[in-house]
Amino acid sequence: MMKCAEVHPNLGAFVLGGLDSEEETEVRRHLAFCPSCREKLGEFEEVSQALKVAPPLADPPSYLKDQILSYVRAEEPSPSHEELSSSRDSRSKNLPLLVPGVAAAALVAVVALGIFFGLHAEPPIATIQLTPVEKENYWGVAELHPQPSGNQQVELKLNNLDEPGPDSYYEAWFSSGEEYIGAGTFTVTDSGQTDVVLTAPPQVQNYPTFLITEQSATGDTAPSKKVVLRGEAP
């Protein structure tokens, strides 16, 4: 019969089902009489159970990282932007040397990211100021950007919203007073600024009231009465 020292290296493979049948039989025979090895086996079985919920070992597409970093660099003011700006003012002779490469890179980034993230080049057609209903420190704006499809992109810039209650989430609505159009759901993980981009159908232009409600994931899907922010289209 196998000794413990011989069984230990085989236990991982035993749990994963990778031993030859003779080896497996030998290990089983040893385990029947060895509490110490059974204990070790139990530890490996826990790992084997956890492996069942392991996500696939796959890399995201390589372009994703570049897109994310390009977006961040385009949004984030950096010393190089300031230098470029000051050189425009005071050293215009250097522009032909400095600008083309940077400008071309920025343009590519803006165009690519605009397409990728569904961003808008046009200013908003309307900005709705959102005021708190219950908690006074909540505030924000909803900017409406028309899309070529006719849909309205709704860019929410919200401040100080708390994380919604357990099994709850926030939902944005346009209202005519009687009917409601849902514009999308979101949550916040931390207090502070929350930026959310949602898409609403073209008809919302006839629904002048904008609301953000806290919805229960297990409750009714109609707008809840728990309105946290509201505003009127100008």
Partner: protein, 198 residues
């Protein structure tokens, strides 16, 4: 002399992001460490690669935008990132469970209906274990990860792994058991981090 981003801890990189220092390098390093986990858990939660790719974008933009809200005294970066990932995945899931009916009678009212698929709570039930296992797998060295990948995910026997990799059978067996031990330790480590957060 400043450290390279890949030599810094997750928490130090978050400090850099919050302080707007070397933002690109810091976010790049965090992406390299965690994007596979976010993507893998995203595929598992949302069911397809396309949705998981969107999730990866949203998560890392959130990391950048919300870096100032991360507090290392309340828990590890990994635990914080898990919560961000889970919440954004739940949002994505909810959006998909709503169906817009705009064409039936030109009535713009949106029917916010639910389908019969599992709710947000169900889809995240296993996600913490899934996250921890992904982190444990990421923590393995290449040789250990290879034997687990071949043995568990591809279902090869130890002998087949030996033949495919050219590694002696005895070494394959030892590596497999060693990898299982390390995975167990990795899982326990993430458990401890979660306990710290509570």
């Amino acid at each position: 002399m400043p450290h390279r981003a890949d030599e810094l801890s997750d928490e130090q990189l978050m400090d850099q992001l919050a302080g707007q220092e070397e933002v690109g390098a810091a976010l790049s390093a965090l992406y390299d460490r965690y994007s596979r986990t976010v993507f893998g858990v995203g595929v598992k939660l949302l069911g397809d690669r396309s949705s998981a790719e969107e999730l990866v974008q949203e998560v890392f933009l959130k990391v950048w935008r919300s870096s100032h809200t991360f507090d290392s005294s309340r828990g590890s970066f990994s635990t914080w990132l898990y919560r961000v990932t889970r919440n954004l995945a739940s949002d994505s899931y909810r959006k998909r469970t709503r169906r817009v009916d705009l064409v039936s009678d030109k009535d713009p009212f949106i029917l916010a209906t639910r389908d019969s698929s599992p709710g947000p709570q169900e889809i995240v039930d296993d996600s913490w274990l899934s996250w921890r296992m992904s982190r444990a797998l990421e923590g393995l060295g290449a040789a250990h990860r290879e034997v687990i990948e071949l043995a568990y995910f591809q279902g090869l026997s130890q002998r087949e792994i030996s033949q495919r990799t050219g590694v002696p059978l005895g070494t394959v067996k030892t590596r497999t058991s060693s990898a299982m031990k390390r995975l167990r330790a990795g899982l326990a480590g993430e458990d401890a981090l979660q306990e710290d957060r509570r």
